[in-house]
C-alpha cells in the first residue's frame, strides 16, 4: 500500500505539472494559433498525462486525456483550425482534468461524468474531418516527401566517415518508416537503433538517441547513416523484421575523401568524437524529487547544529585545537545551511504560471480588456513560501481585475487606454524578495474606505484625524472592510485583504499598499529569502537580550540626549535631513519604565528600523553583537504576543525573543 501511495504522490506532482504546462500552452496557442511547437507541446503533455493515468488505472482520466490528445493531433495535422471555440473546449478539458485529479486526491477514484464534454469533443473532431478533407491529402503528400528525404551530412562529418570507414564498408542512408498507429514510438526507434548497431556502425541518426530519450520524437520516420559491410538486402530484412516497421528505404552514399588533409590534432579530435558517439547510451535523469517535509527536517537539524555551534563558541575554551576546529565547524555549518537553502529554492514562475489563465477567464467574464504582464519569473524563493503565496496572490490579482480595472467604455471616458494593465512582478532586493501587484485601474477611494472603517467602528473619528494618507490606505487590510457595493462571485465579500495580510505576516513578510485615485493601485509584498535561519542583531533592552532581524535594520547609531528634538510632543532625531521618530523599545514591549527615562541617559544606542514602510529609531539599552539565529515560533498558547515574532536560543543556552519591528511604529 505504501508503495502505491508513493506512486500516487508522484502522479499528483506530475499531473499538476502537466496541467500547468497545458494551461500555459493553450494560452500561448490562443495568442498564436499557428505556432506548431506549442501544438506539439500540448500534444506531448496530454499524451504523457494519458500514459500516467493509464498506468494508475484511472480510466476516465485516461479517456479524457486520450480525446484531448486526439484533438491536438488533428490540430497538429491541420485538420482543425484553432478557433476560440477550440481554445474554450481545451480549457474546459483542462478544468475537468484538474477536477478529476482533485477528486482522486479526496476519495481515490476518478468517477466523473464526462459524457457531455466528450460528446462535444467528438462532434468537434468530426466536423474538423469533414471540413478539411483536401488539406488532409496535402499533408500526406508532405509527409511522403519527408519520409524519402535522407539525412544530410556536413563536411566535417563526411571527412570523419571517410577516414574511419574500412575498405569493404559501404555508407548507407537508411530510413525506417514506422506504422502510423505505433505505440511507444520512442521504444520502436530505440529498437531500430539497436538492430542497426548490430549490423554496422551507426554514425548519425535523426532523431538522435538523446532526443528519443527526451521523447522529442514525433513523426514516423527514423533516419540513419549506417556504415556496414552487409549487403542492402540484409539490412532491409533485419530492420523490416522489427514490429511496426512498415518500410525500409536504403541508399548508399559515395563519400569522397577530402584531399585537404586536416591536421593530426583534428584527426584525434574526430576519433574522440567517434568514441563518444558509440558509447553514448540512454542517459539517466540527473534529478530526484524530494518531499518538502524531508527538507524541513533537514533544515531543522541544521538549525540544531547551528545552535550547538553557537553554544560551543560561547564556551570560549582556551586550547589550540579548539580554535582550529571552530572556524572549520563554522564553515561547514554555513555551507550546509546554504546548500539546503538552495535546494529549497524554486523559481517563483512555477506558481506565477497559473495566473495568466485566471486573469484571462476573469477578464472575459467581466468583459474587460486586460494586458497581463509577468516579470521576474526566475526569481527564486523558498518552496514553502511559494506554496503559501498562491492564495494571497490569487486574491490580489482578482481584486485588480474585478475592482481595479474598469470596463473599456469607462476607461475610454476617462481618457485611458481601453486595455487595462495588470502587472505581477518579483525581484530580489537585498535579503528580501519583493512581489508587486500593480494595476492602472480606478485606484482606491480613500473617502469611501475611511467612511466604512468609521461605520464598522474599526477606528474612531479622533484616530482618523491623526492618520495620514498612507495609514488610511493600509486600513484596507483590516478585517471586514470591502468597498465594493456589489458582491461578485470572485471578490468583494470583505474577507480577503485581512487574510492576505495575515498570510504574509505568518511568512514573516510584510505587505503595503499604494494607490492613486484614477491612476491605479500598487501592492508591495516583501518576504524573507528563507524562513528558518536569519542574521540578527542582538540587543539588550532593560535586562533582557532580544534579537532584531538584520533585514529590518537600516543602521545603528549612538546619539546624545541633546540631539533629541520635539515634534508635536514626540521625540525625534534629525538624520541626514530626515526626521525620524524615536521609540522607547521598553514601552513597545510593555516593560515597566518607571522613572528611568532614556532622556536622562547621556548617550543612547538607537537602531533605525523599517516599520510600516517608514523608518523609526528604536532606543535600546545596549548593542551586543551580530549572530545567525534559528527562528523558533512561539507555541500557540504564547502566540500573537505584540511585537514579538518568535524566539531563538543564544550561545549560553538562554532563550532570546525576536523583536517584530514591522508594526512597532
Amino acid at each position: 500500500m505504501s508503495d502505491n501511495n508513493e506512486y500516487l504522490e508522484m502522479f499528483f506532482a506530475e499531473s499538476e505539472e502537466y496541467i500547468m504546462v497545458l494551461n500555459d500552452a493553450i494560452l500561448k496557442l490562443e495568442n498564436n494559433p499557428e505556432d506548431k511547437e506549442v501544438v506539439a507541446s500540448l500534444f506531448r503533455a496530454a499524451h504523457s498525462l494519458k500514459g500516467m493515468s493509464a498506468t494508475m488505472r484511472f480510466d476516465v482520466l485516461t479517456e479524457l486525456t486520450h480525446k484531448i490528445e486526439n484533438l491536438m493531433d488533428q490540430v497538429r495535422n491541420n485538420k482543425i483550425d484553432v478557433t476560440t471555440e477550440i481554445i474554450d473546449l481545451l480549457f474546459e478539458g483542462i478544468d475537468y482534468i484538474e477536477e478529476i485529479v482533485k477528486q482522486i486526491k479526496t476519495d481515490g477514484t476518478d468517477n466523473f461524468n464526462l459524457e457531455e464534454y466528450l460528446n462535444k469533443l467528438e462532434n468537434k473532431m468530426k466536423q474538423g474531418k469533414e471540413q478539411k478533407v483536401i488539406s488532409n491529402e496535402e499533408i500526406n503528400y508532405d509527409l511522403d516527401e519527408f519520409e524519402s528525404e535522407i539525412i544530410s551530412l556536413n563536411e566535417e562529418e563526411k571527412n570523419n566517415i571517410a577516414e574511419n570507414k574500412k575498405e569493404l564498408d559501404t555508407v548507407y542512408a537508411v530510413n525506417a518508416v514506422l506504422y502510423n498507429g505505433t505505440e511507444f514510438k520512442q521504444v520502436r526507434a530505440s529498437m531500430v537503433f539497436k538492430e542497426a548497431k548490430e549490423i554496422g556502425y551507426l554514425f548519425k541518426s535523426v532523431p538522435d538517441i538523446r532526443e528519443i530519450e527526451e521523447a522529442k520524437f514525433e513523426n514516423n520516420v527514423v533516419k540513419m547513416i549506417l556504415i556496414s559491410n552487409e549487403p542492402k538486402e540484409n539490412i532491409i530484412n533485419s530492420l523490416g523484421n522489427i514490429t511496426d516497421v512498415v518500410e525500409v528505404n536504403i541508399t548508399d552514399i559515395e563519400i569522397e575523401l577530402n584531399k585537404n588533409k586536416k591536421t593530426d590534432e583534428n584527426k584525434e579530435k574526430n576519433k574522440k568524437n567517434n568514441i563518444n558517439k558509440s558509447t553514448s547510451k540512454f542517459e539517466v535523469s540527473s534529478t530526484v524529487r524530494v518531499g518538502i517535509k524531508k527538507l524541513d527536517k533537514l533544515m531543522n537539524m541544521i538549525g540544531e547544529l547551528l545552535i550547538n555551534k553557537t553554544r560551543l563558541e560561547a564556551l570560549n575554551i582556551d586550547s589550540e585545537g579548539f580554535k582550529d576546529i571552530l572556524p572549520q565547524l563554522d564553515r561547514v555549518t554555513m555551507e550546509l545551511h546554504h546548500t539546503v537553502m538552495q535546494i529549497r529554492m524554486e523559481p517563483i514562475g512555477v506558481m506565477f504560471n497559473r495566473f495568466p489563465r485566471m486573469v484571462r477567464d476573469l477578464s472575459k467574464e467581466s468583459q474587460k480588456e486586460i494586458d497581463f504582464i509577468i516579470k521576474g519569473k526566475d526569481t527564486e524563493l523558498d518552496r514553502s513560501i511559494i506554496d503559501e503565496l498562491g492564495d494571497p496572490l490569487t486574491h490580489l490579482l482578482r481584486n485588480a481585475v474585478d475592482h481595479g480595472i474598469e470596463k473599456p467604455k469607462v476607461r475610454a471616458k476617462k481618457g485611458k487606454d481601453k486595455t487595462g494593465r495588470v502587472e505581477l512582478m518579483a525581484y530580489q532586493k537585498g535579503s528580501e524578495i519583493i512581489i508587486e501587484v500593480e494595476d492602472d485601474g480606478a485606484g482606491i477611494n480613500i473617502e469611501k474606505l475611511t467612511a466604512k472603517a468609521l461605520d464598522k467602528e474599526l477606528i474612531t473619528q479622533k484616530e482618523l484625524e491623526e492618520m495620514d494618507r498612507e495609514k488610511k490606505l493600509q486600513l484596507i487590510f483590516e478585517p471586514g472592510l470591502s468597498t465594493t457595493d456589489e458582491v461578485s462571485n470572485v471578490s468583494g465579500r470583505g474577507v480577503g485583504m485581512d487574510v492576505v495580510k495575515r498570510t504574509i505576516k505568518s511568512l514573516d513578510g510584510d505587505i503595503y499598499i499604494n494607490s492613486e485615485k484614477e491612476e491605479g493601485t500598487n501592492i508591495i509584498i516583501s518576504l524573507p529569502l528563507t524562513l528558518a535561519i536569519q542574521d540578527a542583531l542582538m540587543v539588550k533592552i532593560d535586562q533582557e537580550v532580544f534579537a532584531i532581524p538584520l533585514n529590518a535594520i537600516s543602521e545603528t547609531l549612538k546619539i546624545k540626549s541633546k540631539e533629541i528634538k520635539q515634534v508635536k510632543g514626540n521625540d525625534v532625531i534629525v538624520l541626514r535631513d530626515e526626521t525620524i521618530p524615536l521609540i522607547d523599545s521598553r514601552k513597545s514591549l510593555n516593560i515597566e519604565v518607571g522613572d528611568n527615562n532614556y532622556i536622562e541617559r547621556e548617550e543612547m544606542s538607537v537602531v533605525i528600523v523599517k516599520s510600516s514602510g517608514k523608518e523609526v529609531g528604536l532606543i535600546v539599552n545596549q548593542l551586543l553583537y551580530q549572530q545567525e539565529i534559528v527562528i523558533k515560533s512561539l507555541s500557540d498558547y504564547l502566540g500573537n504576543v505584540k511585537n514579538i515574532s518568535g524566539a531563538t536560543i543564544i550561545g549560553d543556552g538562554e532563550v532570546a525573543l525576536i523583536l517584530d519591528v514591522r508594526d512597532i511604529a
Binding site: 494519458k50 500514459g51 493509464a54 511507444f184 521504444v187 530505440s190 521523447a215 522489427i242 540512454f282
Partner: protein, 63 residues
C-alpha cells in the same frame, strides 16, 4: 510484479538462456522502462490493452 521487476527478470532469463526470445507486456507511460528492457535484450514488446493480431505479429516477428 513480485520479487523482481521486469528488467531484472529479462536479465535473469538472458543469463539462464541467451537464446531466449522475450516479449514484454507493458502498460502506457512506461516507455523508458521498456527501452531499458530492450537494452537488456528483450526482443519485442506489446502494449496493454492487447489486440490479438498485435500479439500474433510480435510472436511471428521474433520466431
Amino acid at each position: 510484479m513480485p520479487e523482481m521487476d521486469g528488467i531484472e527478470a529479462v536479465k535473469k532469463i538472458m543469463a539462464f538462456d541467451s537464446d531466449a526470445k522475450i516479449i514484454l507486456c507493458s502498460a502506457m507511460g512506461q516507455q523508458t522502462l521498456v527501452i531499458e528492457a530492450i537494452e537488456a535484450c528483450a526482443k519485442d514488446f506489446i502494449v496493454k490493452l492487447f489486440k490479438k493480431d498485435r500479439i500474433k505479429e510480435a510472436i511471428d516477428n521474433i520466431l
